[in-house]
């Protein structure tokens, strides 16, 4: 069971991710960052609660929606703003901008495959690497219900199952692959696939990050102790569009309003108050602190210099 301190940490990190995203949207409004972004509102419960089951030395392959998993892994906010601003302070030294390839090898953040699903294979490789090198590192790989339908998943899951790799797959099922509903595009349930590859699958409600954390801790421990992979299917929601500015004409109003009632941040706040594990003052302080932290990082990141043409071939060949 997630202890009260961890619950508050989860809430703090979700709020930090939300504040970070709001600040990014302001930068986009101000034309300081390109508008290509896949908002993560709604999936913080899944991303934060799963990632917080990892150690700093564990590996993370995040997905393209939101930045909450990356923030939960401890990547400094200045670097993330720098990535979107496309300047030297970014984790990729100004190569990113827009839908970025954040990387932080020291914190196990191994980057992103722009073609979604590609990360599943790299995650399987990273997990195999830990096994070969006989470390106890665990790899966690996030992807959406859309990317779960790529063939890359089959090849990665099969290898992970065959060799009992220390790997946790997190399917963030928000019901939508861009504009196509999951029930239209998918045969069977994602969680049931795990058994076919010889490892356990667990479905969990992403609105309740504390329950998600329990599930993730169990999966990570199993992986670390040689018990092999787990697939966690988190039922989550996409509160905003696929991309910033997506009019979402393909979604019914009723479905959108139901989704809106399943915000994990709103839920966790109420739950913490109701259980007496946090007071209104504590929660407000956490929220104010997040905004302060984000503002400070934003200011610092805005001072970064833009890259110039001389870097264009710098990182091509060693």
């Amino acid at each position: 069971m997630t202890d009260p301190k961890t619950k508050l940490d989860i809430y703090r990190t979700m709020v930090l991710a939300q504040s970070w995203e709001q600040a990014l949207m302001r930068l986009i409004d101000e034309n300081l960052a390109p508008a290509s972004y896949h908002p993560g509102r709604g999936s913080e419960g899944s991303e934060v609660a799963c990632t917080m089951a990892l150690r700093e030395s564990d590996y993370l392959l995040y997905d393209h929606r939101g930045m909450a998993h990356i923030i939960a892994k401890g990547v400094p906010l200045v670097g993330l703003f720098g990535d979107f601003l496309g300047n030297e302070l970014g984790t990729t030294r100004g190569y990113g901008a827009g839908i970025v390839h954040v990387a932080d090898p020291d914190r196990g953040v191994l980057g992103q495959s722009g073609t979604l699903g590609g990360s599943q294979l790299i995650a399987a490789g990273a997990a195999l690497s830990a096994k070969i090198r006989k470390t106890d590192q665990v790899t966690m790989c996030f992807f959406g219900d859309g990317a779960a339908n790529r063939g890359t998943f089959h090849e990665a899951a099969n290898a992970a199952g065959a060799w009992k790799l220390p790997l946790v797959f997190v399917v963030q099922n928000n019901g939508w692959a861009v504009s196509v509903p999951t029930e239209y595009s998918t045969g069977g349930a994602f969680v049931d696939r795990a058994n076919g590859y010889g490892f356990p699958g667990v479905a969990v409600d992403g609105q309740n990050p504390f329950e998600v954390h329990d599930v993730a801790v169990e999966a990570v421990e199993r992986a670390r102790n040689g018990g092999g992979p787990t697939l966690i299917e988190v039922k989550t929601v996409r509160l905003l569009g696929h991309y910033l500015g997506d009019p979402q004409a393909y979604r019914e109003a009723a479905e959108r309003s139901t989704s809106a009632t399943r915000d994990p941040i709103v839920w966790a706040r109420a739950a913490l108050k109701e259980s007496g594990e946090a007071t209104e003052e504590q929660l407000s302080a956490i929220e104010a602190e997040a905004i302060e932290q984000v503002e400070a990082a934003r200011e610092q990141a805005l001072a970064g210099a833009k890259p110039t043409a001389d870097v264009l071939t710098e990182y091509l060949y060693v």
Partner: protein, 331 residues
């Protein structure tokens, strides 16, 4: 044979095995993975004995999962290992195209230099009689339009060993094309365990003064045979082995053309869109004023490789084709 005498005659496939063995012994981060590379020793016999010597953790028989073989190797490479992955046939590069052309080749660049991807992707290539349209290709040029990885194609046992060792020690990803028809060929290979052939340096396989024939991989041997034929006409052919397509040793190419003033480029891949086309363009852009005649390209017919070996032979370029091009150039 003593170290001072310096060389033994071995096959091209033995050269590959020795390179892998020596580098695995030298550096425990080197691991081998692919279909049938372990217990079987490779479908073309290029990895025998490694599984017994280094164990299942370092010589990994993978599922038939090409995307995993290459994508997984990228995951190994960015977390401290130095994988040598094998696609059983070079044709399978398209089964793992995104993993090869984007993940392997671009991971470092896309992430602002935060990673190195020290991996080698071995790809047995070429038509050897009956493989058909999907097991006979030399798809080296597919990698050309995707910057980020070296493209190496050895033609002799010495080059195979020296270039593979260099590729394993290199911190860049390397596409390493081995010609299946060359595995059984023999040649002298230096004994020195630190014998490496630098990547991106061309080799003059035969000196000549009248015509330069540029080739790599199996086509080097066709070029040498064509040079023999031309010699009977009194024409002196220089055979320049590029040993791959990237980096391309343009200095060596230009120097040879400066000497001969005539150039034929021979490849096994179909004529259109191959390495020869790119090399032609580089020559035309830079040293066209040194040429006394047109640049000649020799390659396979622009058709899928027929499964019937008799038809395959009709599609493949031959030493006679190269010889004819040489004759046309010298008039």
């Amino acid at each position: 044979m003593t170290a001072s005498s310096g060389a033994r005659t071995i096959t091209y496939s033995r050269a590959i095995t020795e390179a892998l063995d020596e580098e695995m012994a030298r550096d425990e981060r080197v691991v081998v993975l692919g279909e049938d590379v372990g217990r079987m020793g490779g479908i073309f016999g290029a990895t025998p004995g490694l599984y017994e010597k280094y164990g299942a953790d370092r010589v990994i028989d993978t599922p038939i999962s090409e995307m995993f073989i290459v994508g997984g190797a990228v995951g190994l490479a960015i977390t401290g290992l130095r994988p040598v992955a094998e696609l059983q046939f070079a044709d399978f590069i398209v089964n793992a195209a995104d993993e090869t052309l984007s993940k392997m080749s671009k991971w470092r660049y896309m992430h602002g230099g935060q990673f190195r991807v020290p991996m080698v992707l071995r790809m047995p290539e070429g038509a050897t009689g009956g493989g058909g349209a999907e097991h006979s290709l030399c798809p080296e040029a597919l990698m050309l339009s995707y910057p980020g990885a070296h493209i190496v194609v050895p033609s002799t046992p010495a080059d195979a060993k020296g270039l593979l060792k260099a590729a394993i020690r290199d911190d860049n990803p390397v596409g390493f094309f081995e010609h299946k028809a060359l595995y059984a060929t023999r040649g002298a290979v230096p004994d020195d365990p630190d014998f490496v052939v630098p990547i991106g340096k061309a080799d003059i396989k035969r000196e000549g003064t009248d015509v330069t024939v540029i080739a790599w991989g199996r086509a080097v041997h066709w070029a040498l045979a064509a040079a023999d034929l031309a010699a009977t006409d009194g024409t002196s052919v220089e055979v320049l082995d590029t040993r791959g397509l990237r980096p391309l040793d343009t200095d060596a190419i230009f120097a040879s053309i400066e000497k001969t003033g005539r150039v034929v480029i021979a490849q096994e891949a179909p004529r259109t869109g191959g390495g020869a086309s790119e090399i032609s363009a580089v020559i035309a852009e830079n040293v066209i004023d040194l040429l006394e005649g047109p640049i000649k390209r020799i390659g396979a017919m622009d058709v899928p490789i027929p499964q019937n070996p008799a038809l395959e032979a009709l599609v493949m370029p031959t030493p006679a084709d190269i010889h004819l091009a040489v004759k046309e150039l010298v008039g």
